[in-house]
Symmetry: C2
Subunit: 353 residues, 2 copies
């Protein structure tokens, strides 16, 4: 065992690094096409400059999507470089959705920085999100081949699912009860669809047939659901030093995430006590809620765990991970690509942030 | 002269009617793909249902864009029907931008009805706008040909210009002075780009080469600028009974529209008095401004006219109309299509609402 890499994630980390290295310059070139005021807002959002326009080196995220798009091209027998426009387009769509979602959700922080609507106002968050979305479609279609047109069509369909997922997420906030199936459907749209698209898009650009692209999308969809299950676990029990979020982050936001809905759906005294607390919580204003001390959130987290919400979600992450890898089983791919897709999937379910 | 049609717009009105008749069912079919909560919001926006979900027959707008998209297909020698996906895609993009712009601008009314953000909240205006944009890309790419991919690329480029135009419009609100050239550039992006796209998209789908598509886009771009110049005139001097807007509508919103910037740019006492008034106006809050009585707006309108802003804009509409038609001059088009494009252009500069 390598002590610097206790979970053996060296391969996955190298793939993420390659994705960043190849996609980042192309992403900057694409964003450079935006006109000045919007360009600055976009550069702030991506962490390239601070609120005063000074260059920064902010955390640019895990970059799972670009890594996937490049591997996807290799799965079709093309070079990783062939997947770059796909990686860029998917990143643009992802960031369009972050800009709009942060505004709709009223989230003031993302990756330890003030969100765009907070710094530059709501109109800029809407405009720049719209511009990134249009840019994504332009970038992918510039290939000018029948394959890039197919890729663009899949990208547009995934984008619409992303919007569906956000609409469901918002609707759930106003509902007292959300089922596990509904939560999974929402997460499949909000997270699964774009990871699916990333996993298929490189192959489509590389000329793969629909069968290979569909199988890769299935892998990406379930990888997205595994990713989201882990995210939901980290949102409650994650180490703030690693995640950069507050303790019990999702509980503070009263998010009906997987561990919560699974616990509520369980039977027994813990589920009943939890449900009673959450029902009372729902009647509070956000200010009253923010006055809660740590112990209140710790109580809810303990009840979720006692009712089985934590272990169910851990199990669900493993199930989705398994289903993701099963989708690759019968595929004809160049040697090594399957191992790399597996390494990436393993990383997603074991990450700590 | 036909007394029922004093301006001889029968041909143009028939083209608009045909555009509506062919595009409306396809538009409804496309919008029907949205999931229930967003579908209702979209149906409200399009005027198909009221705020309580009851079917209505609201004014669906002039529908110049669909009419253009169909004529565009005919210009390439295809049937009008070939342009329908283009008409639908352009209408979806247009309405995506209306949903977002109304929210950013805080506009509470559109076509005599409360705007979506006012009825369904800001998040729905953002979400449904995003969904319509994604749907537009899906609809146009469904053709699955090399031509529809080219059409989608032009649509994405036009959409980004639309966003640029809105960004400029918002930036101008916070500036004391806007030049005529800047105003024309903004209007070229905000109105010209999508009319250009509508005028070219049918031809592209129909298999036209880039030369014909570009010429049709040039026609559409200048038609858009003529359209906007007329809109800017109606925004100040339009008959409220015809336009459905308040008297001096654009002046109430302190819009730096063409007649205003042209008047301010002129020399002489009227321009100077106008500039002094507008500079003082800019320091007022919106509430103080709304307390103005009719005479205050009438004074500003009279000064704009005296400084030559009205006649300059009328002249500009004629110039753009002329440039639009000139773009058609050397084109090889089926007999009758040129006459119809001309009739539509004539209608645009003579309309009263």
């Amino acid at each position: 065992m390598n002590p610097a890499d206790p979970h053996g994630h060296g391969a996955a980390l190298a793939l993420l690094e390659r994705g960043r290295a190849l996609a980042a310059p192309a992403l900057r070139t694409a964003v450079d096409r935006l006109a000045p005021p919007m360009h600055n807002v976009a550069a702030y959002h991506f962490g390239w400059i601070d609120a005063h326009g000074r260059p920064t080196e902010a955390d640019s995220g895990k970059a799972v999507r670009p890594a996937l798009a490049l591997l996807s091209a290799e799965a079709a027998g093309a070079g990783a470089e062939a997947g770059v426009p796909g990686a860029v387009a998917v990143e643009l769509v992802h960031n369009f959705s972050l800009l709009h979602d942060d505004l709709m959700d009223g989230d003031e922080q993302r990756r330890h920085r003030d969100t765009v609507w907070k710094v530059h106002g709501p109109a800029q968050a809407i405009l720049v999100g719209d511009a990134l979305f249009a840019l994504a479609v332009e970038v992918i279609l510039e290939g000018g081949t029948e394959h890039t047109a197919r890729a663009a069509r899949r990208l547009a369909a995934a984008s619409r699912k992303l919007v569906d997922g956000q609409a469901q997420d918002i609707a759930f906030e106003h509902r007292e009860r959300v089922s596990v199936a509904e939560c999974l459907e929402m997460e499949g749209n909000k997270t699964g669809a774009l990871l699916a698209c990333a996993a298929g898009i490189g192959a489509v650009i590389g000329g793969a047939d629909d069968a290979l692209a569909d199988a890769l999308e299935t892998y990406g969809h379930h990888l997205g659901l595994a990713f989201q299950a882990v995210d939901d676990l980290l949102g409650i029990w994650g180490d703030p030093a690693a995640t950069g979020k507050l303790t019990w982050s999702d509980l503070r936001q009263r998010k009906k995430s997987l561990p919560v809905v699974a616990a509520v759906a369980a039977e027994g005294p813990a589920a009943e006590r939890l449900t009673a607390l959450l029902t009372a919580d729902a009647k509070k204003t956000q200010e009253e809620f923010e006055d809660f001390d740590e112990a209140e959130f710790a109580t809810r987290a303990a009840l979720i765990e006692e009712a089985g919400g934590r272990s169910w979600t851990e199990e669900e992450a493993r199930r989705q991970h398994h289903t993701a890898l099963a989708a690759l089983d019968s595929l004809d791919m160049p040697a090594g690509v399957r191992e790399q897709l597996t390494a990436l999937a393993d990383f997603v379910v074991v990450r700590r942030k």
